[in-house]
């Protein structure tokens, strides 16, 4: 670790600063993340096609949603499969507040985060109260998603089967409606930056260590003084609240929502799970790296295989996911980590195996 490394005490401040960052894998990952954010922020300069910009905006939203799931599934290891529930609730909260009560989406999205977070409390309470773990936890969330789809289909207050939408004809900052795509990208990127910082803070803190300990061994963690129920709930609530905020913004970007579209396992895989799994579940850079590979790949396949039978692109996309999991079980970040350690060992064998 850097603190014990005599070389870092060299009198060159820039060198020691660089060592502080690059001898620490967590910080190195953050550098990768922010380089990606920077790249995304610059894309409007050289991409003018609204189609491609649209893909990039969605990928950015997916990165944020991926971070929210990573905190639950990646850090604490809870198999919250149908995480999209919280995105859907956030999206519905935002649009109901906007359409029915004329509340600005800027406020609505924050309220969406609170509402989704509270739903997270309920989900966590039920699963903890009845000791639902691993596969049972996963099944419970899927069942809940199906139940909510039916409920929302019958519920006129949220538009029922017709769904809800708003018109883009009157762009204004207050209503979070913009005439071109760039503002959407920058809002999404701000969310991602906040998400990355929150994730990093959690990861490096006591809470983060406790989350990982719970993932690795529940009983061992509680023997060391970890209130596992409390921390499991905390993770679900944080993840749910973030997904709610992301869902609110997703609503404002896609402009239309109906129950079968959002209470849907297919979209759940695309929007929530694929990114972190491709990128490396439980790692800091995983969600954003994965989202940037996942969404564009899915779109390119959809475009390239549009002719012929519909569904061809899904076969290719599914195979891509399976191959990724087979050959990179720890995701792209896992591969990067291996390379990183090799480089570090070659430079200085004494730094062997930093976390």
């Amino acid at each position: 670790m850097t603190a014990e490394n005599p070389a870092t005490t060299s009198n060159n401040p820039i060198r020691s600063w660089l060592k502080d960052i690059f001898l620490d894998w967590d910080r190195t990952q953050m550098v990768i993340c922010f380089l990606l954010v920077l790249f995304l922020a610059l894309t409007p300069l050289f991409i003018s096609s609204t189609y491609y910009l649209g893909i990039i905006i969605l990928a950015t939203i997916y990165a944020f949603i991926g971070i929210s799931w990573n905190i639950v599934a990646g850090f604490t290891g809870q198999l919250l499969i149908a995480h999209i529930i919280f995105l859907a609730i956030g999206a519905y909260t935002t649009i109901v507040l906007f359409n029915t009560y004329s509340i600005s989406p800027w406020v609505g999205i924050l309220i969406a985060g609170v509402v989704s977070g509270l739903c997270g409390v309920v989900v966590a309470f039920i699963t903890l109260r009845y000791g639902l773990k691993v596969d049972y936890f996963a099944l419970f969330t899927i069942a809940l998603m199906v139940a909510l789809r039916t409920l929302f289909l019958k519920w006129d207050y949220v538009g029922g089967a017709v769904g809800m939408w708003f018109s883009l004809t009157d762009p204004s900052f207050d209503k979070m409606i913009f005439a071109n795509k760039a503002p959407y990208l920058y809002i999404a990127l701000s969310l991602v930056v906040i998400g990355l910082l929150v994730q990093y803070r959690i990861y490096r803190s006591k809470m983060g260590k406790y989350f990982l300990a719970i993932r690795e061994d529940d009983d061992a963690a509680s023997a060391l003084g970890v209130n596992t129920s409390r921390y499991k709930m905390l993770a679900v609530v944080i993840g749910a609240a973030m997904a709610g905020i992301g869902g609110g913004f997703y609503m404002m970007y896609v402009t239309f929502i109906e129950p079968p579209q959002v209470f849907n396992l297919g979209l759940n895989i695309e929007i929530v799970m694929a990114g972190p799994i491709i990128g490396g579940l439980g790692s800091l850079a995983g969600p954003i790296v994965g989202a940037l590979l996942n969404k564009p790949f899915a779109e390119i396949m959809r475009g390239a295989l549009a002719e012929g039978r519909s569904g061809n692109s899904l076969i290719v996309y599914g195979s891509f996911l399976i191959l990724t999991i087979m050959f990179m079980p720890r995701g792209v970040t896992g591969v990067l980590h291996t390379i990183y350690r090799r480089i570090l060992n070659r430079l200085n064998p004494r730094n062997l195996g930093d976390s």
Partner: protein
Amino acid sequence: MALLEVSGITKRFGGLVAVNDLDLSLDKGQILGLIGPNGAGKTTAFNMISGFYQPDEGQVIFDGQDITGLRPDQVCKLGVTRTFQVVKPFPQLTVRDNVMVGAYNRTNDRKESRKKAEKIIEFLGMKDMREMAAGSLSVAYRKRLEVAKALATDPKIILLDEAMAGLRPTETDEMIELVREISRQGTALLLVEHVMRVIMSLAERIVVIHHGEKIAEGEPQQIVQDKSVIDAYLGEVEIDVTG
């Protein structure tokens, strides 16, 4: 009054009485051995004291406070930490992070917990391994890590569940020295152990249980001459020979 006062704890699993009306008492800084043939109920007793099982009857009093039925993390917060017979490292975390999880029991500060973890890792002679993933350690060091994690929680009592089973003789000797040093620093220990050499050289008092019931209690020298103890153990040997 004793630091840990266990009175009449009983645990039944269906028709099986795993532990029946067991009394234990442990003073500050003392080492108490808990022995008995396989399936005698030693680990079940541990699980009840540390909060993993609720006793069906009886009480566990720690430091004058009734801790019966508290959760494991609450028991740990108060100062009773257990290790596991089947070691439970956090395999993907580094050795240091493993110990830090324990150290966070008494602090919220990252630096402080890290400093404490480093100190304990050094005490256990694992300094060179602190960046290694716990899952890649050898059995001997996994056992040591188990002790390190427990120690990091700043306990008044450590419940060691067969911390030396499966170790080579030299490794066992090193572990005995470590336990002795921990005890010297004022931490009381309750040892469950199969290796008689360990118990005999460490424990000040020994409690023998058989079929969930206490059959003898006393100093090590008394215990090895106790008829009921010899019967319990020799009975087992006899079956081994004929079977």
